[in-house]
Amino acid sequence: MDFLGQVFNDALDAFLDFGPELRGVILLTLLVSGISTVLGVVIGIPLGTVLGLERFPGSGLLTTAVNVGMGVPPVLVGLLFLLLFWNAGPLGSLGLVFTPAAMVMAQVALAIPVAAGVTRGAIQGLAPEALEQMRALKLDLPTRSRLAIVEAGSGVGAAVVASFGRVISEVGAVLIVGGNILGETRVLTTLIVQESRQARFGLAVAAGVVLLLISLAVNLMLARMTRVRLVTL
């Protein structure tokens, strides 16, 4: 049998076997990425909304920070959090190094700029008449923000999708702050790195397929939610 056929067979075996190892890794992936996305959008969407609606001292700086943050390499963020949580580091006493909690924090830091940046773009893309109407009605910032998010509906939905995409596909930050410890901090992306480095391609491919399926399922779910829920919010 040729090489690729062998890899496919191994992947199928690993998939059908669906052992506790793979199951634990999937669960942790969903948990870490899910919590990171939720926290990231809960902070990032309001931030992006305010940046899209208002100009205030420091808003330009904040916008630049968000734009830079959207493209910052995950390994750099991972390194920063590793230094923070390192035993001798400033937050070392918390004992968070190589824990899922540290992974979540690093990923939240990656998700916030994406959520904020995409939201800000969607808000600024609203019809000028809509923004003017809010001013004509003399609405306060919380009311304007709520209206703007609903108006920008699918644009804000895209912010959630993009944030989830950023964290689920990311390997650098979780590898560095998590340490890729089996049963503790290993997630699908770090599993793929680990397995392919040892030339065990079957499990790597199986993990990759699972990653794809998760991405697809989450996207379908979010698309449904933004279509139905945001309209009636």
């Binding site: 008449e129 003017e132 109407q133 004509a136 009311t143 609903v150 108006e151 309209v231």
Partner: protein, 325 residues
Amino acid sequence: MKLTVTVTVPDDGSRLAVEGLELPGEQTTVVFGPNGSGKTTLLRSLAGFEGPTELQDVAYLQQRPYFFRGTAGYNLGIGLNAEAAAWGRQMAEEMGVGGLLDREARSLSGGERQRVALARALAAPGKWILLDEPLAAIDRADRGHLLGHLAGVLDGRSVVVVTHDVEVVATLADHLVVIDRGQILEQGDVATVIGSPSGVRSAQVLGVANLIDGLAREAGDICILEHGDVSIAGIGAVNGPGRALFGAETVTLRVPGAGISSARNDWLGTVETILHRGQLVEVAIDIGVRIVALVTPGALVDLSIEPGSEVGVSVKATAVRIVAA
């Protein structure tokens, strides 16, 4: 209380600079001008959209009000407290859109949306109410009723309306400001400004130099307005106190007794004054009420018109608008 404001829209300095705009409080000021005269910019600026404004506490209805996702009722209530929202709903009811408040706002027709937006602007807290072409999207058939209603609601409040609709001027205005190309041509009490515009340009802009109050009644397909012994036929659907409007240029003069005119309005009058206004001549005639005609200097000579002379005066009924006063 009267505010005198100066409005300058910074941008490039030349866009709009209106000096000495008079805005009497507790009255309706109508700013009238042709399209592109700077009306909307002026109102936006008064509303504070172009920089700091001298008006405090403003409720502003845009020319094209925007509706957010949600029902018309939801849009009506955005940013209003319970009391104001209830009042807004009542307004909507009175303007005939009360039954539409549960419908998706964006599914309403232009006219329906305009009424909801009007109800929202009237219910919003604000000392000054600024309305930009409040009846632009309303069907002609509904205008009379709605204008009458609006006049009642606005009575005693401090209002600025911009429009290029003479009917709106005649029904709503206490104080009239005529502007063109960002400049005030004239301003003052509505009857004074419409009755005797001080310049050719403002007479042209207004298109109306004759405003006659009286008692109107519908008669078949026309409307008759009685003022003392003078009766004026025009277009309108008014029964009760009314106001006839027609332009000075629609009035034709002839030698008395020379032929019978096809015009429904055919009077005999005495020339009061003759004023030269640029290329044209403004002739004021007493026919039982004072009316103004705009003619060429040649016509003046042909008819040998001078103060005190008798003259035949006619206006087609289709040139006269009769609105509720």
